[in-house]
């Protein structure tokens, strides 16, 4: 059983992100990730790319709570983190309470820039890092205004060699729609590329302006954030979700490595996740479900002003985790919904992964021949011959297979 989906429920009153309680959500997530990491690190193919935990809820010393994970890599290991500040007496605003402030941060850095100290609430410091504001839920259901909020933590993982995938999603329950928050973060491997890729989706809502779709991965040997071409791959009609789409490379990452000359493979989104928009159709809220003859689609995100995210569970998907982990199908929150269009990626084994090719315009390697420049026209492999050779180009239809042109009405050469 390599692909598993399971969850745990944290009812209103006990749901608390800001807690070191071993049965709390933070440490449960940590335990699930450590178990996944131990399994995939033991696979021969991952000897160079081990996953590890740098910080967890257990390391919190002040009002910062979350995790920092290391993505192993032979050249350049990287860190990813999700940290949320809890309210303090000094007045940090309650997470999610306003649209203009976010105390949640999803960030990334090269591991080499990390100083393992107790600053930043126990989470250490970086000399160079990138962070995206990202909301979580109300961090504590004991806070006024959020007392009716509970949460479920959902884990989807695949330990099949070559298809490694770890995804956690947190969905709040109870309260009204305005209080609802979802977040989702997945680590995965993309065919043809080395190292781990990461996708984090924090849907934007009417009460939270910090939508984040953060994509990270390795271009060559460099770790960095990648431009998600999700929007370009979706028609803007508001009810399409897309999986497996290839999203390209960050050329500024490739350039210093001299990799512009080789066609790098495209990084793809993980097959089980479907990302897109549900703004005009489909689930009105956030526990959508689509039942198919061959499986079930569950909504990890929510109907959002921006990106929603769904998870595919083929028929027979189950889990082997001990209680209190349970099957997601045991939850009563899911509501069947319709009118959504799910576009899959390429079928497995269908087409070989083909890379982007980057065409440089440097003076010593002119590989782009624009038709309207003098040099481009003369060197143009097709037009150049036609325009400048005295023979006037092709065979005129004699069947030799060379370029054929009509014998009258020719642009050049005149009268030939």
């Amino acid at each position: 059983m390599t692909y598993q989906v399971f969850c745990q429920v944290f009812p209103a009153g006990s749901w608390k992100w800001t807690s070191k309680d071993p049965s709390g959500v933070g440490m449960r997530l940590d335990g699930a990730f450590r178990a996944f990491a131990a399994t995939v690190n033991a696979l021969p193919g991952n000897a160079d790319t081990p996953l590890s935990v740098i910080r967890s809820h257990a390391d919190a010393t002040a009002n910062r709570w979350g995790y920092t994970w290391q993505l192993g890599h032979p050249i350049e290991p990287a860190h990813l983190w999700f940290h949320v500040e809890s309210p303090t007496a000094s007045g940090v605003t309650l997470q999610g309470d306003t649209q203009t402030y976010s105390s949640g941060q999803f960030g990334s850095a090269k591991a080499s820039t990390f100083s393992s100290n107790t600053s930043n609430g126990g989470y250490g410091s970086y000399s160079n890092s990138v962070a995206n504001s990202a909301g979580l839920a109300y961090i504590d259901s004991t806070i006024t205004g959020a007392t009716s909020i509970g949460a479920i933590l959902l884990i989807a993982q695949d330990t099949t060699p070559g298809r490694e995938f770890f995804c956690w999603a947190l969905k709040t329950t109870g309260g009204n729609d305005e209080l609802h928050r979802d977040c989702c973060h997945a680590l995965y491997r993309s065919p043809g590329t080395k190292g781990w890729c990461s996708l984090a989706v924090f849907p934007r809502t009417s009460r939270q302006s910090y939508e984040t779709v953060a994509l990270h991965g390795y271009s060559g040997n460099r770790f960095g954030s990648l431009p998600p071409a999700i929007s370009a791959s979706l028609h803007s009609n508001g009810h399409q979700l897309r999986s497996g789409i290839a999203i390209g490379h960050y050329d500024l990452v490739l350039d210093p490595q001299g990799l512009l000359d080789s066609p790098p493979p495209l990084i793809q989104l993980p097959a089980p996740l479907f990302i897109g928009s549900t703004t005009i159709r489909g689930a009105s809220t956030h526990f959508g479900k689509v039942t198919r003859p061959d499986g079930v689609m569950l909504q990890l995100g929510q109907r959002s002003l921006a990106h929603d995210i769904w998870l595919w569970l083929p028929s027979g998907t189950s889990h082997s985790q001990a209680s209190p982990w349970m099957s997601v199908f045991a939850l009563s929150y899911w509501r069947e919904c319709n009118e959504l269009h799910f576009i899959s990626g390429l079928p497995p084994g269908g087409l070989p992964p083909v890379g982007l090719q980057l065409v440089t315009g440097t003076a010593d390697f002119i590989r782009n021949f624009p038709p309207m420049s003098a040099a481009g026209t003369r060197q143009h492999p097709q037009q150049g011959t036609l325009l400048f050779s005295s023979a006037g180009g092709g065979d005129g239809g004699d069947g030799s297979g060379a370029l054929a042109r009509p014998t009258t009405g020719l642009l050049w050469p005149r009268g030939a």
């Binding site: 071409a229 028609h235 576009i343 065409v359 782009n368 492999p381 180009g393 009405g409």
Partner: protein, 301 residues
Amino acid sequence: MNRTLIDISRLGTDTTWPAVAVEVNSYLQNWLTAANAQVSQHQLRIATAPNPNATATDSCGWRIEATLAQSTPAGVPAVLLLEVFLTGTTLQIRPGIGNSEPFVGADSQQGWVYPAADVGTSSGAWSTTPLPFTAQVGWSLTPGAEYFVFAYSQHRFSNRQAVPLLIARDQVSGHWILAASPPSTSDGLRAVSWNVRSGQPSGSRSLLREPTSTTVQIRRPAELVLVTTDWSYYESANEPAQFWEPLILPPDFASVNLSSAAMSYYKPADGNEWLAIGGHGLLLRTKEATTAQGGQGGLLP
């Protein structure tokens, strides 16, 4: 030789659109006969061919049909349609789905429907006289990767660059894709095909491309951004969720993030060579990496 690329560029002083269209049609007929023999489960047909005697104001062009083996939920064979007509000084493109014959001349469930509301008609300007242009006709009968393409460029700007005909096999489903790229600065493409998984027609109005603000990048395979139907064969408002597979052009096509690039030529480091056709970044492979150096895979001498 499975693949052919012919240059039909014209000086323009002594040629007319009907003459060009008739010449292209002769290549199309030959290719179509061979393609039908090779792909027996989908019958392509030229329902209307260019009229050689068309005047400057007569419609002149094609209506192409592909009758698929797969039926609609009503049990009628699905017919994909593509109309490309020069009408006066406008090149009109209209993709569609035919549920029954004949075409009743309107967007209706009985005769002709567009793949989706915004994958309807498209058009662009055309100067008829004189008619100077660079133009190519290419085709392939490589099994599984068959295509026929006709492209031209009248000048450097994308409102005079077009791919009036692109008939190619979808690499995922094997169904035909009927498409055309209009001479328009804003409108990229019109395409219609059939989605096996959802049992629905699908359409497209653009190639999947990188943003134009980044490095020039050639993306393979060439993928069409899918426009899922907004009318659907499901009459009920309570339409079920549907699953779709992507539309992928044969490996002789790629996309580049440049517009107004028709006739640009690209030689990336891997040995493939590409000719840009139309005004919206479609590339046609003229030399294949594995048989580089002018081998059998090359279309150029």
